[in-house]
Amino acid sequence: MDYPLWHLAIGGGILMGLVAVTHVIVAHFAVGGGLVIAATETVAIRRKDREMRELARRGSLILLLIPTVFGVVTGVGIWFVAGLISPAAISALIHNYVWGWAMEWTFFVIEIAAALIYYATWGKVTQGVHVAIGWIYFVAAWISLVIINGIITFMLTPGDWLQTHEFWDGFFNPTYWPSLVLRTGIAILMATAFLVFPALWAKAEARPKIMRFIGLWLVVGLALAASGYFWWEAAMPHEAQVLFLATSPDQAAVLPALAATRSFLLWALAATAAVGVVILLLLPKAARVPTAVILALAAFAFFGGYERLREGARKPFLIHDTMFSNGLLVSEIAQVNQDGVLSKAPWARRSAELARADLSAPEGWSEAQQVAVGHAVFEAECASCHTLSGYQGIRPLLGDDPTLVSAVLELMHLQAEDYMAMDPGHRANLENLTYPFMPPFVGTEAEREALVQYLISIAAPPSEQGAVGGDTQAAAGPSGERTGGEQVAQAGGVR
């Protein structure tokens, strides 16, 4: 919240989701593909099977063109996007886990070198050396997953790290092992989803044999992914489980959208199993481009659903029990309540200062200045997740009853007390919170009232507004009179 404001019409979360999901699909294929391709070449050498060799060779071209280009670029993309939308969180993670990432990087160097050498040396080196490089590629790629898995799972279930702040306590956290099994299974599933396509180019008489070979890998991937997933669910702390699981017949999940995501991913997994078993094992002749596309889409949907669930189950935190999704630290709630959120948010504060609002004397604020301050508070606390009218748009959520807006913010402010009362070093129980997926409102009473006035100023029905689009774009009143929001936008030119 104390960084410059970078607005995106689709919302930072959507952008991160797009980049991250496309990257993880490719990155997991890079791992599983390495395993299946190296195994395929090994079988080809032992059986002197030309078709299997061709499958491995074509697969290695896909490995070269997708993971080592697209995967590498989107991997860097995750760093870029995380730095843009959650700089505080990525900084905190790097301060804790830079050596973990550095270790992963060493395996990444091996992985990239091996991928390039493996593809470039088909037909040029002895079979033994070539297949050895294939296995080196897989081992390096899988170990990079082994390492990164520790950092990803830490964000959701920090485990003993909350008390000790020790690297390995956070790394080997409660969901580490189930997640590793799950992700290894997903990596193999991704490999089968991608490798069906080069397998379609095989000669017709050899195709059923090759499809069955890939089908066996699919079964392995499914078994690992399904068992890993349910183990992962079981390993989650109760406080996280209740967000997306009905804990008893009369106790629904706290977050219905997450419960729906869980159902979606399980159906997608079932679809992957059904389509995969049919076209790869039972009726290999049914394997055609359309059915292969369906298999791939089902597998991607399962994986994407899981990633969405994992991210959603972390709400309202970026690092569980440590940092909220807007960059606020649990440990600084009291201080921010006392000094005001704008004391911590210099970039957001600019719009208030440009409206010449004296932040130390709220009793002297004019109506326009109060709205300007409210806009600044919105930028500091809310804009990291909410746009005005786009993704998670705030405008559709607002009624025109100021008492209702005020009451909601009052409740969210009270939640700050609940977080402060939390036992340090232990997981927060979100079950009894009114808004368990939202960070608490923090700041002074004057800031809260200013936010209420700002929200009211932008809540006019869309039909009565001027053009509405960008995050700092203003809403014009029915008579063409500028609202406070518009005045803020014009006065501040706020980024």
């Binding site: 960084y3 301060h95 160097v109 990239i112």
Partner: protein, 374 residues
């Protein structure tokens, strides 16, 4: 309010090692990144010009040169990105307060770098698979597109680094992001990188051609072609280094921290070494017309450029330290070293380099054809 008032607060999480260690790793890994980045940028620029001037003639030595550079770069681009990850990590450890704001202030452009990189990478592959290397000629458009896109990436990187080093410009950048292009050192800084990149790529190309030209079993026509490539690349290297020396002095005059740079002994030493190396390089390049006749000098030029890049990596970092001195002097970054993890990283790095070395050696020592081949 000025830019320093807009600094985000220091991340309260201690950094997992002493700051000097991260400074050292940042410089070291950036140097590695610089080597590959220079080949990607300079090599692609040179290949594009060579391909254009050869006008699609398959028998022109410049077409061969362009194809050769694209062959190197299909590996070079992958390693440019891979080696870029480590300095990206370490810069975030040390400069959380200035690096993130710099990227956010031109967020869309920074993000756009990814798309530019992706398209540039695929354009380079399209040239390799559909252009000169396999077709004898053609594919010019793809190598030109790749060169332009890689140049755009250099422009973005220079912009981000300038913003990152100058918090006092942030307010102006926030209101007018493109104003960074008007920074007094922007153009000379960009040229410094681009000319250095071309210089290294040209020196490597010349060295390679010299080695090939002196291979005993090469036919006369092939030998002449290699000699043409070596001379052509040598002229590129000479021109690039000549302009680089001129641009370097201009940069030194224009950079706001030049006085501090020259007065600080630890900064002045590498700067002086860099200037001497650059002048020595220029003399070596200028005294030879046909590098095939002077293979020792061709090797010397390549080694000197690599050494120069190493020294300039240090100087570049020192310039950044001096730029950011007003910020860093009032911040005491707390460290909680994780020595065990650092040691594990160091061991794994050695293992990784050894593994890559083993793979390269195994490939070179186990060639095979026919049924024995993979």
């Amino acid at each position: 309010m000025n830019g320093f008032d807009l600094l985000p607060s220091l991340d309260p999480t201690p950094i997992p090692g002493p700051a000097w260690l991260f400074h050292g790793l940042l410089v070291l890994t950036f140097f590695l990144h610089l080597l590959f980045m220079n080949l990607t940028l300079g090599g692609t620029l040179m290949a594009a010009v060579a391909q254009l001037t050869a006008r699609g003639r398959a028998d022109d030595y410049r077409t061969t040169l362009a194809a050769r550079m694209s062959g190197i770069n299909s590996y070079g681009i992958a390693f440019t990105i891979t080696t870029g990850i480590a300095p990206l990590l370490f810069v975030q450890v040390l400069y959380q307060q200035t690096f993130y704001p710099a990227t956010m202030l031109i967020g869309s452009v920074w993000l756009g770098l990814l798309a530019v990189l992706g398209f540039g990478y695929y354009a380079a592959y399209l040239y390799k698979f559909r252009g000169a290397p396999t077709k004898g000629a053609g594919g010019t458009v793809w190598i030109v597109v790749a060169a332009v896109l890689f140049f755009v990436i250099a422009m973005i990187q220079v912009a981000v680094n300038l913003i990152h080093a100058q918090p006092d410009t942030w307010l102006a950048i926030a209101d007018h992001p493109w104003s960074v292009l008007g920074d007094r050192t922007y153009t000379v800084r960009l040229l410094h990188f681009v000319l250095g990149a071309v210089g290294l790529s040209a020196a490597l190309t010349a060295w390679w051609a010299v080695r090939r030209a002196r291979t005993a079993d090469l036919g006369e026509a092939e030998r002449e072609r290699e000699e043409d490539i070596a001379r052509y690349a040598w002229r590129w290297a000479l021109a690039a280094i000549f302009l680089e020396v001129f641009d370097g002095f201009l940069f030194l005059v224009m950079v706001p921290v030049n006085a501090a740079l020259m007065q600080n002994l630890w900064a002045a030493i590498p700067l002086t070494v860099a200037i001497l190396l650059a002048l020595g390089l220029l003399m070596m390049l200028a005294q030879v017309r046909n590098p095939v006749e002077k293979p020792g000098i061709a090797t010397g030029v390549l080694a000197t450029i690599v050494l120069l890049l190493a020294v300039m990596s240090i100087t570049r970092h020192q310039v950044r330290l001096l730029y950011l001195e007003p910020v860093t002097s009032r911040i005491d970054q707390v460290a909680a070293p994780q020595w065990g993890n650092f040691a594990l990283f160091a061991v794994l790095l050695v293992v990784a380099l050894a593994t890559v070395g083993w793979m390269v050696r195994a490939v070179l020592t186990h060639p095979a054809t026919g049924d024995d081949a993979a």
